[in-house]
């Protein structure tokens, strides 16, 4: 059976394809710029590059701003619009809002980069009073994120209108599972846009002389951070769902309604779990701290449930196609397609990320680990391995489909996610170990004039080396995906040989699916083990936890 998304994307109106290509170009450019900032920072931290700390912080800022805000959110916005248009089958409605949102986000990117160039922006860990030293810098930087927030408020309206138009025209009784997921995703993006405005507009207003001094700006960052963390994860799982259907034809064996329930669970579970960001607040009552710890256990429930749905559905279909063995059925998956390789790496990275995220959000460990390199060590499993590779996988399917060039050398490209994963494992293992050892995370040079433990520099060198491999593989993957933005002189060859089509085939009665539950069990055991290790290590150190402004 034909891949419905590829066919519908290929049939989109020219104006829609132009918008999607423009957004993809900006998103991929932001990713490359962010990678450059990251690799310079990692090299400086690893002792391979001698730069003054202020320059290092500037590169670190460019890294965070470009990737965490503009790559992740421009890419999400583009893919939301693209798949919403594909769901509708006739293109985007309210296209002007989509363009307006995109232009606002692009303008925001310009302001944020200018703010990073002008000086050291006031971030969430800075004392608000530092803003008085450089009001113009604060104005430019905050205007950037405010414009991004405004763009996120405006743009998803086009996706929502697109998804609901068939229903309003009495052509659709209810949304499909993917349509509902995109609808929920669009709403959550708008809420995040509002949170960004709430966080960053007061600083800009103060710098313009029309508002009060943003004394509580650190707390406001907490709010936007929670959404910034979990929205990309929700997007990731939705994209897995869509891409698995595109690459294999498989839809959920549990039915559309159950998938909708899981996607709506994201919206129910994510907000109440935000309490754990407050663990370092000294005046937080004990009862609230306990409630926050309990609620934090629910944060990964929707992600793990969606993972179980996808893996179980794939396993049942693969076994019905003749797949054998506990893990042997996985050989039948379309690994030749770089998008499938990306999803494979994304799943492994997510398992590692979740494991260490749960270590970090333990109420007693958070004060000890939050300001250490443990944090960048573990969250790159999410930002790079899980989210970025999934977004790139989606672009690897969408861009050739909307009339660009066929994917460049897919036989070579499919190894890039695995190479990035190899670098990520080195980066993550060294970073997490460094965190357990107490290496601070916001310091470019941790040698402290040769007074720090020798192991610190060894671990930072490993972080730098792993980061370089990761950056190299990601840049190659990004450049190859971006090559599909160029127009194709001849019709792009179909990627059909790289995919499988298991839809429309009867499922084997009694087919079992064990890998999903086993994976979750392994994650639980690993979470328990690394938490226990963390407590053992911390108790053996002659230090006392003291709260700081970390998140």
């Amino acid at each position: 059976m034909a891949d419905i998304y590829t066919e519908r994307l290929a049939a989109l109106p020219r104006h829609d394809r132009k918008l999607l290509k423009s957004m993809a170009a900006v998103a991929l450019s932001a990713l490359v710029l962010g990678i450059l900032g990251g690799v310079v920072t990692a090299a400086a931290r690893g002792g391979f590059l001698d730069i003054i700390p202020a320059t290092g912080y500037r590169f670190l800022t460019v890294h965070g701003v470009s990737i965490f805000f503009y790559w992740l959110f421009t890419a999400q916005a583009a893919l939301l619009l693209g798949f919403a248009a594909a769901e509708n089958g006739r293109g985007l409605v309210w296209r002007g809002l989509a363009w307006a949102g995109f232009v606002l986000m692009l303008a925001g990117f310009g302001f944020s980069l200018t703010g990073s160039y002008m000086g050291t922006p006031l971030l969430y860990d800075g004392a608000p009073e530092l803003g008085t030293d450089d009001p113009s810098g604060l104005l430019v930087f905050n205007l950037g994120y405010s414009l991004l927030g405004l763009g996120l408020l405006v743009l998803p309206a086009s996706a929502i209108g697109t998804l609901l138009t068939p229903r309003w025209q009495a052509q659709q009784e209810r949304l499909t599972a993917v349509g509902f997921a995109l609808f929920a995703w669009a709403g959550f993006l708008m809420v995040t846009g509002f949170a960004a405005l709430y966080t960053f507009l007061p600083g800009a207003a103060w710098a313009l002389g029309i508002g009060a001094f943003p004394a509580d700006h650190g707390t406001r960052w907490h709010i936007v951070f929670h959404n910034m963390h979990y929205l990309p994860l929700m997007a990731t799982v939705i994209l897995w769902y869509v891409l698995v259907r595109s690459l294999t034809g498989v839809t959920s064996v549990f039915g559309e309604r159950f998938s909708k329930i899981v996607f709506s669970m994201y919206l129910v579970f994510v907000p109440p779990t935000s309490l754990y960001h407050m663990f370092l607040e000294p005046d937080l009552p004990g009862a609230v701290r306990v409630a926050g710890s309990l609620l934090s256990l629910f944060v990964s429930v929707p992600t793990l449930t969606a993972f179980l749905i996808i893996v179980a559905s794939l396993e049942v279909h693969a076994r019905s196609q003749g797949g054998r063995g506990l893990f042997g059925w996985m050989r039948m998956l379309p690994w030749r397609h770089p998008a499938m390789a990306s999803i494979g790496v994304a799943v492994l990275s997510m398992a590692l990320g979740i494991t260490f995220a749960f270590v970090l959000i333990q109420g007693d460990l958070a004060p000890l680990l939050s300001d250490t390199f443990f944090v960048p060590g573990y969250f790159h499993f999410f930002t790079v391995g899980t989210v970025s590779l999934t977004l790139l996988a989606a672009f690897a399917v969408v861009l050739p489909a909307i009339g660009g060039r066929a994917l460049w050398r897919p036989g070579l490209l499919r190894w890039m996610p695995w190479l990035a994963f190899a670098g990520l494992l080195v980066f993550g293992a060294a970073g997490i170990a460094a965190g357990y050892m107490g290496v601070p995370r916001r310091v470019i040079d941790v040698a402290y004039q040769s007074q720090s433990p020798a192991l610190w520099m060894v671990l930072m060198a490993a972080v730098g080396a792993g980061g370089a491999v990761m950056a190299l593989a990601l840049t190659a993957f990004t450049a190859a995906v971006a090559a599909s933005l160029w127009p194709q002189r001849e019709p792009a060859p179909s990627h059909r040989g790289m995919t499988v089509a298991w839809d429309g085939h009867a499922l084997r009665p009694g087919a079992s699916a064990w890998v999903g539950p086993i994976s979750v069990l392994v994650i639980l055991i690993a979470m328990y083990s690394f938490t226990a290790l963390g407590f053992e290590l911390m108790q053996s150190l002659p230090v006392t936890a003291s709260g700081g402004a970390a998140h």
Partner: protein, 67 residues
């Protein structure tokens, strides 16, 4: 009413309760959370009403029909 509406309304309700709790919390400075989740609650309530809206027939020249 349909399943889409039934799944979106609880989101608006949970967020509304959360916003009220944050607004009344005597500890920390949680009013920002109240504003954000309160806005989210209102937004999803609005979106749920869009799920109830329906036209009887396809209008010629609707935006979706334009290239």
């Amino acid at each position: 009413m349909n399943e889409d509406f039934a799944l979106v309304v609880p989101v608006a309700l949970v967020w509304a309760v959360l916003a009220v709790v944050y607004a009344l919390a005597p500890w920390g400075d949680m009013i920002g959370y109240a504003w954000v989740w309160g806005f989210g609650s209102a937004l999803f309530l609005g979106l749920s009403t869009l799920l109830l809206r329906r036209r009887k027939s396809d209008r010629a020249g609707s935006p979706a029909a334009k290239p």
